[in-house]
Structure formats: C-alpha cells, structure tokens
Symmetry: C2
Subunit: 248 residues, 2 copies
Amino acid sequence: MALSIIPLTGIPMIHEGDDLSEIIAEAAKNQGLQLLDRDILVVTQKIVSKAEGRRVKLDEVEPSSFARHIGETMEKDPRVAEAVLRETARIIGMKRRALIVETRHGHVCANAGVDFSNVEDGYITLLPVDPDASARKIREGLGQITGVKPAVIITDTWGRAWRLGQVDFAIGVAGMSPFRDYRGEQDMMGHTLHATNIAVVDELAAAAELVKGKTEGVPVVLIRGYDYPEGDGRASDLIRPLEEDLFR
Amino acid sequence: MALSIIPLTGIPMIHEGDDLSEIIAEAAKNQGLQLLDRDILVVTQKIVSKAEGRRVKLDEVEPSSFARHIGETMEKDPRVAEAVLRETARIIGMKRRALIVETRHGHVCANAGVDFSNVEDGYITLLPVDPDASARKIREGLGQITGVKPAVIITDTWGRAWRLGQVDFAIGVAGMSPFRDYRGEQDMMGHTLHATNIAVVDELAAAAELVKGKTEGVPVVLIRGYDYPEGDGRASDLIRPLEEDLFR
C-alpha cells in the first residue's frame, strides 16, 4: 500500500548511442532490484538527450540576427539563443535573462529545455525530438532484456506560472495513462466528482525528483507500489489547448 | 536512501473543533508507525478546513448582485459564487463554468478552493484562513503528544497553466524550507548552477497525492526518508510576484 521511490545508483555518464534500456536493467540488477511489471521507471531528460545525440557544440552554431539581439540585450551567449530559437514554436515571455517559450512539442519552459548542466564545456543539450517515442523505446528495450515492461516517464525540471521554484514534469510517457480520471466517480459522501482528473505522471515526475537531486548523479528512479492507470497515453496529452487555459 | 510514501488509514470523518494532531498521532500509532523527527506529514486541506470550522451552510449565504450574475451566466449556484467571491482577491479568468481566481492568500486556483466534495449536502468548505499557521499548529500539537516534531505540509488539488489535469500543491508548511536551493552549487561537471531552486514542498504534496486518491478517505500521508531542507519556511513564500512571472 505504501509507495517506494528508489534511486538507481551506479548509472555511468551517458554518451551518444548508449542503450539506456541495457544500462537501466544493469543498474537495477547491480542494486539487487528485479524489475516488476507494475514498476515505473522515471528517467531524466538529460541522459535521454545524450544517448540520442541531442547535444550541440556551441562553436558550430551560427546565430541569426534575432539571436544576436537576444544575446546583446539578455546577457546570453548568442549561440545559445540561436539553439533555443531553433527549438521554439512561440515565445511566451522575455525579460532580463529569462526566456520562456513554447517548445515545438508544445511544452512551456525556460530556454526550450536547452541546458548546460551535466554536459561538457562548450556543449549544450536539447530536449529529445519526441520524448514519448523515447519513453516507448526504453520500455520496449527493457521488455526485451528483462521480460517485463514497466511504465516509463521521461522528466525535465521547469518553472511554473504563479509559483516560485521549479518542479519536475513529465515530458514523455509510455505504458500508462498520464491521468487518473475520477470524473463520474463518487466521493465519501456519495457526491459525483465532475472535474477531478489528476495528472499523475506529473506527480510521479515530481516524486522522483526528490531522490534525484541535481548534483549527485541519479538520473533514474524506480517507483514501486503505485497502481498506475492503464492506458497507452503520452505526455503530449497533457498539453492544454490555449483556448481552454484560464490559468494565465 | 529510498523514500516511502505511507498512507495513514483509519482517520475518521473530521468535525469542527477536532484536534488534528491528536487524531494523526492516534492513527499513526494504530498503524504501528512511530513518528520520527525527520518525518513529513502531508495533510489534505479538507480536514484542516473542517476542523477549523471553515464550512459554510449555503442557505445562510446571501448572494451579491455580481454573484447572482455569475450564477446565471456560468451555471453556478449564486450562493456558491458569493462564497467564492468572498475568498477572492482577483479574478484571473472566467469562461463557461470555470472561475479561476487569486485567493486572499495569493494562491491561484479554481473557485478559490471552495469545494463540495466530502462535505455534507448543503454545505461547502473554504480554505483555511492561514494554512501556514494551521500547519504550525498541527506540528506543535504533534510535538506535545509524541515528543517529536515532523515537518507538516497542507495540500490542495489544483489545475495549472499550460497543462491539463490537476496535481496537489502545498498551501501550508511548517518545520522545513519550501525550497531545495542548488544555486551556487556545482553539477557533476563542475559547472555552477545559477537558477535551480526546487519547490520541494510542491513535489512532496504531489507525491503524497498518489496514495491519497479522492474517494478512499486517506487525508493524511507520512513521507519518510526525505532529507528535507531545514528552515522556517511558509507556503506563502512560493507565491511568485506578478512582475517576475513570465509564465503567463
């Protein structure tokens, strides 16, 4: 009934072409953990991007005119600004050093998820091209290696409207529904719930962050004991259509 | 190293004047759990509101002119609309049946947290007047009864900008900092982190929701094994000043 959030230790530095399913299966085994069908593996975007070669050498980026302007006015490296713009569908806000955008996937975050942390000097990482597909690939690979198919969630750390601080969000999902939908069910008093539809993959992403930290090299977390909603959902299902968004 | 999210079962229906510290201590004891100093107790707003008498009989609410207009145009009970307006500092968005507001605490959520679920017919609940004070009171009470003072987080379930579905957020905090601040620390590659400041109380709130459900009557969750950031923080510290909010 209790839920366990277990950091997978011993994941090495990831390089382009590495097989994450193999590396995760090996790390779990070395830790004495046998993967179960109803487990959930929460994988940090950074290692997925590295394995998929979504790393860019800054010296090879030619900034556009707009990127150079952003560089000058926002104290950014114009090559980084260019990399961000290439990942961007729409700019939501730009002020001082902050550049909040809607990515080509439809997610809203700072710098389109372009990031320096835990990557070699002179390089940046981009978000995976299709994080839902990345999650499915890891899940299929784990199925082939271990014989069981846990749900897989890929996460990144983003700021939010209205609230300070960042939390981890789901950007890719495989093997479960992103939502636990209570609509039509009854509460303890027999009232029918009309609006309650919980984004459980975001809650699982947030829960996993608590044992990952940012500086200790724990990019994968096993969540055990959560009876997740079945389904073939995607993190892209979480994107709220603009015309339905009253929270802005 | 792993983190456990443990539902406290056997919490009875809560009424005005009930001592939540006593009830939580009793429930933990009956479940064979001895509270530890570094435990975190995550408490659903609904039982705090009930214990504090933040329950309103709809028949006793006289709707204002604006509330009657909202009632007519948004298919709401005008008495509910009035109760919402009395809790509201600012209306963020109103469309069809959705009324998103900034509460008098400064939090942004639907209907100012006014809610029908798990309360008797003809009544609604309001958010606690000062949820940070409510959390401190529960913590102090637990300290007196058990001799240890866990951190306490009070939570509610809200929608978000940009993303569909709701997640649980922290609305009251006692005994810890709401943030794990990495700014100034170094990543695995030796780069200094400049922006990373994780809203861990929101992540803990989200994690706890996973074992609460909405229909099973689990309003309190024990989180064990999380090395939370020390401090005397409040959930109100999470409110982002308007002029710094580029996420809207």
